[in-house]
């Protein structure tokens, strides 16, 4: 049912050779809705209720420039099916997007930090749309019903939004029921490439995205479960190899100026702190470092890169991290956008190192920039005691 871009999918060897040359067509007409008395009608009903709940959910980001952009991009890629698709931006720092049978699409905020540009975003959205256009949900639902011999529950509620947050355990629990099978994923990959290529986006974006995702997962040194999983199921390279074959058929679309940020990148930069604070809170330091490296390569502003590298060091708290954080905060403090927070963190770090005069200066700079900061009482307390 959900979880499309999961690395947990096994892409072993089942590629059908014919598929590469196939041109995909939707299996449902625009504006499709099932009969209410059918099993599909029941599934839709449940999903629609979920969507109703979602509309008053605090976990959704509404009416921002980013959501408008997403809606437009999805609409463009969906073409005749634009009216059937509704996209929701879900506050969730993990890499995911999902498609529901009634045309509800979820995009996680974590996706926005991981796609490098509009092309890569398009690749994910194209893949999701392909699931919809090929009616994968209902097929999967029927298969699950046929094959399940044990008690199983469809549990669509707001909690489902977070189901894949810490993936593995819950994925195993819902195996078979909530996920597209590998043939469907494979088809969605191929159809997704077709969709973005025919809309002027770079079809190779799907490969560059997966390569990055693989690098990010590979950077994970700290957590046993996912690295073991990664070691036993490293089939992203197969996925990449097969995507490359699909891409060959379309050639390259002309790219806009590589050095300037595209509209999507600018929107991400505008929301960067909010997105990145949630990413940092995951405490996945190695992966986040990999992510910031990529952002630096994309050309995201130096202020943000320096500041979040500093945040990573400060919060990781390993040997040498505080020193590194101080150096980076000092650089970030020279930029208007990151000055206030950098000065404040410098103040605290200097106190820890017994550099009281420097701490005082830093706190004073912080309050100079943000005299109404909500923690001004705390800062003033230190300014008094540091005298």
């Amino acid at each position: 049912m959900r979880l499309l871009l999961s690395l947990l999918l096994l892409f072993a060897s089942l590629a059908s050779v014919a598929e590469g040359a196939q041109r995909f067509e939707p299996t449902l007409p625009p504006g499709y809705a099932p009969d209410k008395s059918t099993d599909e009608g029941g599934l839709w009903y449940q999903v629609e209720r979920f969507e109703e709940q979602l509309q008053t959910s605090p976990h959704i980001i509404r009416n921002t420039a980013l959501t408008e952009y997403l809606e437009e991009l999805v609409c463009q890629l969906a073409g005749d099916y634009c009216g059937s698709i509704r996209v929701y931006l879900v506050k969730n720092p993990h890499f995911n997007a999902s498609m529901y049978p009634n045309g509800m699409m979820h995009v996680h905020t974590g996706l926005l930090l991981r796609v490098a540009n509009a092309d890569e975003l398009g690749a994910v959205l194209g893949h999701e749309l392909a699931h919809y256009l090929r009616s994968h949900s209902i097929d999967q639902w029927r298969n699950a019903k046929k094959s399940l011999g044990i008690a199983a529950f469809i549990d669509i509620g707001l909690a489902a939004l977070h189901e894949d947050l810490h993936g593995l355990a819950r994925d195993v629990a819902t195996v078979g029921l909530m996920r597209y099978n590998r043939e469907q994923e494979s088809e969605a990959d191929a159809y997704g490439v077709q969709i973005i290529a025919t809309h002027g986006y770079d079809p190779a974006a799907s490969v560059s995205l997966w390569k990055y995702i693989e690098a990010e997962r590979g950077a994970d040194k700290s957590k046993d479960t996912s690295s073991i999983f990664f070691a036993t199921h490293p089939k992203v390279e197969n996925r990449i190899a097969r995507l490359k074959q699909h891409i060959k058929r379309y050639g390259k679309n002309p790219k806009t100026d590589e050095t300037d940020l595209d509209e999507f990148q600018n929107l991400v930069v505008a929301e960067y702190e909010g997105l990145m604070d949630e990413q940092i809170a995951l405490q996945e330091y190695e992966q986040t470092a990999e992510m910031i490296d990529r952002h630096a390569a994309i050309g995201y502003p130096d202020s943000l890169i320096k500041f979040y590298r500093a945040e990573l060091h400060r919060q990781r708290k390993k040997f040498g991290d505080e020193r590194a954080a101080i150096d980076l905060y000092r650089k970030a403090a020279t930029f208007e956008r990151t000055a206030a927070r950098s000065h404040r963190e410098l103040g605290y770090l200097y106190i820890k190192h017994g550099l009281n005069d420097a701490a005082k200066d830093a706190f004073e700079s912080y309050l100079e920039i943000t005299p109404n900061a909500d923690d001004r009482e705390m800062i003033n307390f230190y300014l008094e005691t540091l005298r």
Binding site: H162, Y348, D374
Partner: protein, 188 residues
């Protein structure tokens, strides 16, 4: 036979809290001494080895959680997930880090799903020590807006804290003055 197994299971599942009266007046909970001006219900549930939970109207609506004597290297709540380890308390932590410690611990205790807005970090003068206090607001997984007030005191390199959390509507403001008075009376 069937009925017996159902009965047995149902009994095991009756894992709810039970309550005893915590009357108004002086208390010492997890090493923290304070004075309450109204009666509370002490719950049998706890969030970790060094904790105690009080409530007025049931934990869904409001709860006062006491956590005392956390040593360097220990976590505020019991770690349950390798994927989302609980951050450890360090004796040299400054108030900004203590606030982050509490926020991350709460977030991770919910599987990482809470988006907690922490504000108004400030010192609070107590008898014989300085505490640090801040506010939180967030939505629980059902979409109910909740607010929380947290006070943290370090004593002999150990962290002690009290968190009051409640539904933002009615149940938080209802107890705000009582909670403020409990926090202000805190002594270690």
């Amino acid at each position: 036979m069937k009925k017996i197994s159902i009965l047995a299971l149902a009994c095991m599942l009756a894992a709810c809290a039970h309550y005893s009266l915590a009357p108004e007046g002086a208390h010492t909970v997890q090493g923290m001494s304070f004075v309450s001006t109204t009666d509370w219900n002490k719950s049998s549930l706890r969030s970790g080895a060094k904790s105690e939970v009080w409530t007025k109207d049931g934990e869904r609506l409001n709860q006062l959680t006491f956590i005392g004597g956390i040593k360097d290297g220990q976590t505020i709540f019991t770690s349950r997930s390798k994927e989302l380890p609980m951050p450890e308390f360090r004796a040299n932590m400054l108030p900004n880090e203590l606030m982050e410690l509490v926020v991350t611990s709460l977030k991770n205790s919910s599987g990482g799903e809470l988006v907690i807005d922490a504000t108004n970090l400030r010192p609070q003068r107590l008898q014989g020590s300085i505490g640090f206090r801040f506010d939180m607001s967030y939505y629980d997984s059902n979409g109910l807006a909740r607010r929380a007030d947290c006070i943290m005191v370090k004593k002999d390199d150990r962290l002690n804290l009290i968190i009051f959390s409640a539904a933002g509507m009615h149940y938080y403001p209802k107890e705000a003055a009582e909670v403020d008075s409990i926090f202000s009376s805190l002594q270690l």
